[in-house]
Symmetry: C2
């Protein structure tokens, strides 16, 4: 059973999940190319994943069979377990809780060699739509405090399977980094009576020095204080506190 | 000129240093072995580095010649510049300051193929002694708020040169992570009237579940809430607020 442990100095929660060391990998150590073996995420191998929790399918095809353009399935080697109660416990100076949460895999395409960059536009839209639908659904579980969507592209980024996919994790805590973002935005608002993200968007649109792309709904910028090369932010131009509340944008 | 930029939401300072992209590398992309070319850190190549700021040398050998067991030199491709004044400036919602600081390289051995793990004990002691001497010296510069020592071992960790070395950076700000550690320790002390690190040491010595090594002066533990595999902490058993103030331990 995975466990959440709190750093007694920093107050940050860490997932301790020993089982995940046993998950399969497409990538051999010391080698950067794929092994080209069996892929559980490919069309036709639906019985090799846990049953789907969401899928976009051709009309009439039954769940967990061929005929899908996108599937969301529970991760077979989850960092956190969906079953069980959230128990909190102390051990002297240390605090821990049971590793309750959801860990899902968004299989973005039935085809092994496609990537987000090569998919047609409507397939990319479906990926974003799947994120939103799963976030809205997972928010209903009262044990969860935060839903995180992430994508590791390639072995160097930590991906263990080559087939294009992203991951969704629902957590029983709010990550420290997110708390700090909320806190920072609150402090800014308390001082200025303005939203910090609205101020950033307005300055970037004005200066036009760091804009990567823009349309009527969104602007993408290279942040002023980037943490890594090619970091980019996508910001909605109209005020939106939560991705799960957004309507599809035409 | 490098620049420090503040993330307007998180309040974290980031070093923006475009010049460092031009530094040399022993490692070609797509290749994990060394290129075996010329090494500026090897004995005999003292004129290929900036003049040493500290060295442990055989009696009578002049600075910047052969005959040393350890040298500390300024980094030829520094992330921060030592020359200049610390200027702070705003640009609308953004804050920045000049990238003033020190960036030094500790060349741990004259021999190219030695590592910290293969060096004799007294050479390792000298590395720690060099860290302390440089920290004490850099603290005298009133522009600096924090001195950071780090070591990247191997290409995967970010090392660009194979020859065993570590780096010292003096910063005009206290990193957010360190501020949070100080803040966390303060909060704990305010609530418990006890030092959180003393409590951790006492519980670990009692439980003996996570101790890696121990002698009369220090204890090394695998932290309760590790952030990465094989993370380990080395803690002095007697209360010490600053590594720079420590006396050599016999």
């Amino acid at each position: 059973m995975p466990e959440l442990r709190k750093d007694p100095v920093l107050g940050r929660w860490v997932i301790i999940s020993t089982e995940r060391g046993r998950r399969p990998s497409d990538f051999k150590p010391e080698e950067r190319s794929s092994t080209g073996g069996f892929c559980p995420l490919c069309e036709g191998n639906e019985d090799k994943t846990p049953p789907e929790v969401l899928a976009f399918r051709n009309n009439g095809t039954p769940p967990n069979t061929q005929g899908w353009s996108l599937r969301v399935v529970p991760n077979k080697f989850p960092a956190l377990r969906i079953e069980g109660d959230l128990n909190r416990e102390g051990d002297g100076v240390y605090d821990k809780m049971t590793g309750i949460g959801a860990h899902e895999v968004v299989i973005e395409t039935p085809l092994h060699h496609e990537t987000l960059a090569t998919l047609p536009l409507e397939a990319v839209e479906n990926v974003l739509r799947a994120y939103r639908e799963r976030i809205v659904d997972l928010r209903r579980d009262r044990r969860f405090q935060y839903v995180l969507v992430f994508k590791n592209h390639g072995q160097a980024a930590g991906a263990s399977l080559e087939h294009s996919h992203s991951q969704i994790i629902a957590l029983p805590i709010v990550p420290k980094r997110v708390k700090e973002e909320i806190e920072g935005a609150k402090n800014y608002f308390n001082y200025k009576d303005r939203c910090v993200f609205c101020d950033i968007i307005s300055q970037e649109l004005n200066q036009r020095k760091r804009i990567i792309a823009e349309n009527s709904g969104f602007v993408s910028v290279a942040p002023f204080a980037s943490n890594f090369p090619f970091e980019s932010w996508v910001l909605p131009k109209t005020y939106h506190p939560n991705f799960g509340f957004m309507e599809p944008f035409a």
